[in-house]
Amino acid sequence: MARKILLVDDEAGFTELLKMNLERSGAFEVRIENDSTKAVAAARDFMPDAILLDVVMPGMDGGDVQAQLQASPQLSGIPVLMLTALVDSTELSEGAVAQAGSQMVLPKPVNLPLLLRVLDEIVPAA
């Protein structure tokens, strides 16, 4: 059965291409949410196996979304993988990544084989 991935990023083009890449093998079913303020609701609705979360987004940033996910007993167990195009480490801490306790951060541009390996690790195929 395909693993369910929720992809939260305001870059519509990026999410579309990542979805195509992930779904190609048939191993994943990807749902896109380009509006970060709707991310938590989408997670509740879709109940993904993992969430890929952009850091810098308008409206609500990745750190805030992560904190809300953590605060929800229903969602706090879902592994979250942060994606970021941020370029220096000070910005990264500003993004509240560490504080929100995300398991892992991957830099953008995303190395697809690496992403697939990480996903296999945090969401093992059934």
Binding site: E11, F14, E16, L17, M20, M60, L86, D88, E91
Partner: protein, 428 residues
């Protein structure tokens, strides 16, 4: 006899040099007063009976002779605004001379009478003044150059501030490109409907990255001010692209409303972008404590009367009444300007930001740039709502540049001016 000595003593006590040459006798001197002795440092007994070739250099004598001949030929007074004689002790004496042809009825001789005023001191102070003026012009040029360097330095600071954000904006299209490459490199089925979409996305991504990189390069270029007719909306668009990351990061919304068909304004894109980036980043900083951050950008066109009435333009003399101007306002809903800071906002190095966050040059440089555009920049608290508004008033015409010119010294030596007046007036 007595008459003659009266004339002689009057001549010797005149504050001007007086001499006379006999044109009928090889222009030999027949009169040489005290002041003439003083000016030339040649005593009368040595000069009388001699001509210019005996007393002065060949070059000077040639010149004096040519004027003398012209005076005789014309038969009227001639003025030599400035001539220089070099005395034996090497001193240069500047003279303003009038030469008059005189017909001596008694002897039948034709004389050239000269009256010279020593203007050496005047010339010296004039030259001194010119030197000072030149220094002033140089200092002014240096100041302008320094100002341009300051503008550039401030720009480099903004680039540093924007670099991370711009890099982020470039990385996003790069991320997209890589995903496209990943997809396409895994082999494509001939009927894969995704391929066309992916290629289009990749094309857009390249264009996006290209646009932002070019924007940054254009912005960072150092050129002298070159103004071109520009659509303000285009500048605003470019600037918002450069600060997009700062706006997203700070969760600031921007609402842009610009009148349709605004007249063109004459802008140096790169320098003007610097102003807008500055004002926008300032606005973002001012709203750090605010929950819903909103920047409003408004532009409209008005005639100058309306501006003065509505806004009380700071410097009305910048514009001519009736001129069409474009007003650009950037407002925020931040903490506004503290009354104590209001008068110092545009002072260089004045900053309310923490050490290392801002140099305090931003607004002073921004105002200078706007002034170089013939416009004005003011910053004040909004009247009805919290926050501040930066207001730019820009001319829609290219005003005549203020040019500082040095009045050059017109060399008159050797070119006597001819004055029409009959010799009889002076000889009778």
């Amino acid at each position: 006899m007595e008459e003659h000595s009266i004339v002689e003593s009057v001549l010797d006590n005149l504050p001007v040099a007086v001499f006379a040459k006999d044109a009928t006798n090889d222009f030999r001197f027949v009169l040489w007063n005290k002041k003439q002795e003083e000016v030339t440092t040649i005593r009368a007994e040595k000069a009388l009976g001699k001509n210019d070739y005996h007393l002065f250099s060949q070059e000077s004598a040639d010149y004096f002779r040519s004027v003398d001949k012209a005076v005789i030929k014309r038969g009227s007074l001639m003025k030599v605004p400035e001539e220089i004689i070099e005395t034996k002790n090497g001193r240069e004496v500047h003279l303003r001379t009038v030469k008059i042809p005189v017909h001596d009825k008694e002897t039948g001789r034709l004389l050239v009478v000269g009256i010279s005023e020593d203007i050496t001191e005047q010339v010296k102070s004039r030259e001194q003044l010119e030197r000072l003026n030149r220094h002033l012009v140089e200092a002014n040029q240096e100041l302008q150059q320094t100002q341009m360097q300051l503008i550039q330095a401030e720009k480099l600071e903004s680039i540093g501030r924007l670099a991370a954000g711009v890099a982020h904006e470039v990385k996003n299209p790069l991320a997209l490109l890589l995903l496209g490459v990943d997809y396409l490199s895994q082999g494509i089925a001939p009927d894969d409907p995704n391929v066309e979409k992916i290629l289009q996305q990749m094309r857009d991504a390249v264009e996006r990255a290209d646009r932002i990189v070019r924007g940054l390069v254009d912005f960072s270029s150092q050129r002298s001010l070159s103004r071109e007719p520009t659509q303000l909306s285009r500048v605003v668009e470019e600037v918002l692209l450069l600060v997009k990351h700062e706006l997203t990061r700070s969760n600031t919304k921007v609402n842009v409303r610009m009148e349709k068909d605004l007249p063109h304004v004459f802008l140096d894109m790169s320098k003007f972008e610097q102003v807008l980036i500055n004002l926008i980043i300032n606005a973002v900083h001012a709203m750090s404590e605010v929950e819903t951050k909103l920047i409003k950008i408004r532009a409209r066109s008005e005639s100058l009367e309306e501006v003065v009435k509505n806004q009380g333009a700071r410097k009305r003399e910048v514009f001519r009444s009736g001129d069409r101007v474009v007003i650009l306002e950037i407002s925020d809903n931040g903490h506004g300007i503290a009354p104590a800071d209001a008068n110092r906002l545009f002072d260089p190095f004045f900053t309310t930001k923490a050490t290392g966050v801002g140099t305090g040059l931003g607004l002073s440089v921004a105002r200078r740039i706007v002034e170089l555009h013939g416009g004005e920049l003011t910053l004040e608290n909004r009247t009805k709502e919290p926050g501040a508004v930066a207001r730019l008033i820009l001319p829609t015409k290219l005003e005549t540049a203020k040019v500082h010119t040095v009045t050059g010294r017109v060399k008159t030596e050797g070119k006597p001016k001819e004055i029409d007046s009959p010799p009889s007036d002076l000889t009778s």
